[in-house]
Amino acid sequence: MMPVIEARNISKNFGRFQALRNVSFSAAPGEVHALCGENGAGKSTLVKILTGVLQPDDGQTLIGGEVHGIADTQHAQALKIGYVSQELSIAPHLSVLDNVWLGCRGVPLLHRRNELRERARRALNLVGLAHLSLERRAGTLALGEQQLVEIARMMVRDVAVLFLDEPTATLSDREIECVFSAIRELRRNGKTMIYISHRLGEVMDLCDRVTILRNGENVISTDVADISRGKLVEHMLGRSLSEMYPQAGGMSSVGALEIRGLMVPGKIRGLDFAVPRGKILCLAGQMGSGATEAVRALAGLVHDATGSVVLDGMPLKLGSVHTLLERNMRFVSEDRAGEGLFLNLSVEENFAATQFDVVRRFGLLLPAPVRELAERLADIVTVNPDRLRSRCGDLSGGNQQKIAIGRCITPGSGILLMNEPTRGVDVGARAEIYALMRQLCDQGYAVVMTSTDLEEVVGLADMVLTMYRGARVSLYGRDEISASRILLDITHPLTYENAA
């Protein structure tokens, strides 16, 4: 059958980073096609090229068998290509109705029409939002509902090809079922869907074909029926887990950091845990589970967080970054450009940013001690010392992340708080970062981290605390950790919901 959308030999570079190398992809009408790969495998880049968000450096895109460029998102819409992106694209100040029709071509100038209301209503009913008022402001919806509104937006547009980038990442069970039934309904109507997901269970259940990418290259493209789940994992990773993740250390002692009754209004409902030195505790949970918020609260960045934090037997005040710095508790943000680093300052200035007390001489910051400190830290985190004077923004994501971690290394061992430690980091640097984290732990650091990358959680953590909707589900020690249990906890918290 003639593929409805096809990509041939696409390449795309971001600076020196090669995101896609000669990647080809095609989808036939009426199929649900899964696009799988690890973080950073190039899935999102490929999707963005096929939806007009990005332009390829090399290669062709074909629509209905003809070579056809996709100039921008408007053009993609004219070609009946729809895209539900991973990051939500809801205008929070507009009503649900306006959000459903937002950006749709052919909406008349005076757009308050009953016909449009009815079509929006039907689309919302189809994705399981029958209870939602059309006039409700979209900013007041839960994350899952916003995601469903976005899918409804694509349904009213009568698209032929629909890209869904991790559509279920933020959804509860019931909502996931709604999305699946909507997808099946669309398939019955002959639409093509490209479904991007980590979750192999969903892929096996829902999809007809699967294409796997790894490190920006094609690995395999096959019918789902012809491939086993294990084989799928093997293709995605291309290596065994033990190569990637360092051996856990044996050091263990009394709890270094103890948290009791951590609360953030509307986000976390009472969280208790303790981390001994030398261990990595991972808070696992989906978006909206409160895991990220918990780490941010410990980092002193959530102003209305309450609860007791005891570090080495001494209480610690929440909400003051300054006190945390004094007690060697440092935070590495997942948003490097926005919150982590000073991208237009030099690498050495970034290293010194939180260590002024170390480099101060006669109350002044002289260049030599700053240099010395930066060289020492660069050596520990394996950043090329020749680049100390470069602008931090010119370095790769992996090197930037190493700088962000290096900045936290203090003379005495401390506590490291990390959100998504390897987001936007290529596979090679990722292994180095894991090794670095383990090395710090062996020196007596304790790490509290979050991750939505399940493989990373299983491979790296000494302890895993699973969270769902602002509360703890369960805590696993090193020997009890398994991907299936964690997945069950963070997506299928049956025990929890029955209790509540």
Binding site: A299, G300, L301, V321, H322, L324, L325, F331, S333, G338, E339, G340, L341, F342, L343, N344, L345, E349, A352, A353, T354, F356, R360, G363, L364, L365, L366, R389, R407
Partner: protein, 318 residues
Amino acid sequence: MSPKYFWVERLMAFRPRLWISTHGALLPLGLALLLLTAMFTPGFLSAPNLLSLVNTASVIGCVAVAMMLITISGNVLSFALGVTTGCSAMMFAWLTGYESGLLATVGALVFSTVVTGFQGLLIGLFRANPIIVSIAALGLMTGAAELISQGSMIYASGSQLQGLNDTFWSVPASGWVLLALVLLADFILRFTRFGRNIVMLGSNMTAAKAAGISLWRTTVGVYALAGLFSGIAGILLAARYNAGSLEYGIGYDYSAIAAVLVGGTFIGGGEGTALRTLAGLVVITGAGAILLLHGVSTEYQFLFTGLVLLVAVLVQGR
């Protein structure tokens, strides 16, 4: 790196910092053009002309350094520095009535520091929009000064600070004051913790917060410092004219921000030096003087400043 090459490397590193910045591409070009036209402008390089140029430029220069601090800290610009200069000139002139140069100086400086520092407090504490706060301060101070002075000029009594009008080594005292402020500002920005905090705050406010920098303390500090520098500009004015008036500061904000931007300070904050601002000031005032000497009328000065500022901003775009 072996110690032998340390100073070589330092010297190599010094040049790019001053001249080749991503945003300051305009600066060397402007200086070269200025030098070239200055040579072909009769009367420009004469001693009286240069003296009067330094006199005018030094007051605007103090305000420009103040503005540069605000721009670097990520607060874009202030519309209230000019009026602060005028007000502190009035304050100074009024206080000279008490026959104490020290009292007048301290009074004027405390006034300008506190008034501007308070704006910094509102901006740092509530993250109120800095431009709007400065516009409100402009209205408030203009209104209050008009109400108190009834729109008239305040004449200074006594001549405690006549020394400010003398020249030392054939450069007017105000020029030395400006040079001192430039060096002080660059010293603070490069070698003190407060200065690095200012730069980091301007570079990325969220990251600065996550790195434990107190936003409100740094903002108050940078505004107070800017206020202090504007106050010094006011005193220079009052000493020169032996009077204080609200008229004095008018238009300084625009010349100052133009000098800051031509000097290659990044309008988004986090990049720039006072020395480059000084060079930007030289370009702006020098070019203005040359235009005047060529018989271009004063009306065009405003337009010229506007166009230069626009070009300086456009150069910063990608």
